[in-house]
Amino acid sequence: MNCVEFERVLLEGEQTPEQRAHLNSCSACSNLLSDLQLISNQAKLLLASDEPSPAVWNALESRLRREGIIRRAEPSRRSFGDLFWRWRTAWLVPVAAALVIVGVLRLHHPAAAGDNAPIAKQSVAPPPVAAAVLSDDQQLLKTVASRPPAQRARYRTELDDANAFIRDAQDAIRNDPNDVYRQQMLINAYEQKEMLYQLAVDHVSEQ
């Protein structure tokens, strides 16, 4: 078998005894084979290696709404999906906790320029909820501790307002967990607090 024949049979995959004999005697073909195998194996590095910009989802969501594929849920359907809503709100608090923790981590280990790793994907175990909320507020205030006094005071006020909303919403939902309006209020209250954390953390990572 010569090199040309060897290469032709390469395509078929199975290695025949003639091929093996040729490989043992021909370093050029042996190098070729190992290089092609290396390239083929390393190709997996390119799987899911890139991230689309947020604009892609934004445009997609608009289309889905326009075509009626995303539809407004009817109240009866919402109460059927009660579990889903509880899952969603339960998730928000650990995420908010994780956000702050990660934010503080980034303070101490500043991200390199151009680091677009989404915050929520960092693998940090969130602490138990009740303790987390208190300690997270303290973390947030620590994060803004080095800012001008007026800004610090503002974050304190906003934090109080956000917590007041969460308390009112939690009290209301205890009376009727299936109530769509009360569910929405609670979600909105948590989203406001999440916004506060995000604004505080974004500020830090920029400097």
Partner: protein, 201 residues
């Protein structure tokens, strides 16, 4: 969250998300998008070579899939369905632009001299060590479109030759020979890149 727990959480979330998406729930669609966006976008980017087209095609693939979510029965994996859809969307786009999806039938028989003798420089040299992602990415971007398609579908995405032949509309033999040529071309590009770098030092 450990990787295992997150994966488990994702699986539950995907099944749940599909059911919610059938009812038109916005959060559910977003969850499905988040789970698969990197894979779909990377495929489109590899096959088209530019971010603007890749973004448009990513949007189109998800849109076509989401339009049909009501008919999804769960027999095959959701991701298989989505990725097939993405490949079809990209191939259609390449055809529309008259870009060669796969070059015309060529077999190795016509190529009497073979590859080894054509190699520039010392044929005994191996691509030592490993290839990093950026080098490979750059080399793939430089491949002619037809070679790129087959390489991406087979070596990156993991489709078999019979599946590729089906999707692309060529013969299995053609798919195999184009893949081989693509790998050879990549080898050449990677070696040239190495030589350039060595020269610069």
């Amino acid at each position: 969250m450990t990787d295992a727990k997150r994966r488990q959480g994702d699986k539950l979330t995907e099944a749940e998300a599909i059911e919610r998406a059938k009812l038109g729930d916005a959060e559910a669609f977003h969850a499905l998008y988040d789970l698969h966006r990197r894979r779909v976008y990377s495929l489109c980017l590899r096959m088209t070579g530019n971010t603007s087209s890749a973004e448009d095609l990513t949007q189109e693939a998800f849109l076509q899939l989401f339009r049909k979510i009501g008919t999804f029965r769960g027999e095959s994996a959701f991701s298989t369905w989505l990725h097939r859809m993405s490949v079809n969307v990209v191939l259609m786009q390449l055809r529309k632009k008259n870009l060669p999806v796969v070059p015309l039938e060529e077999t190795m028989e016509g190529d009497e001299e073979g590859t080894v003798r054509k190699e520039p420089g010392a044929p005994d040299e191996r691509l030592a060590g490993s290839i990093d992602r950026l080098q490979l990415q750059r080399a793939v971007d430089e491949l002619p479109p037809g070679y790129r398609t087959i390489f991406v579908l087979h070596d990156v995405e993991g489709y078999e030759h019979n599946e590729i032949a089906d999707m692309v509309g060529c013969s299995i033999g053609n798919s195999k020979s184009q893949l081989h040529k693509a790998r050879l071309k990549l080898r050449e590009l990677l070696r040239m890149n190495r030589a350039e770098k060595a020269g610069k030092k």
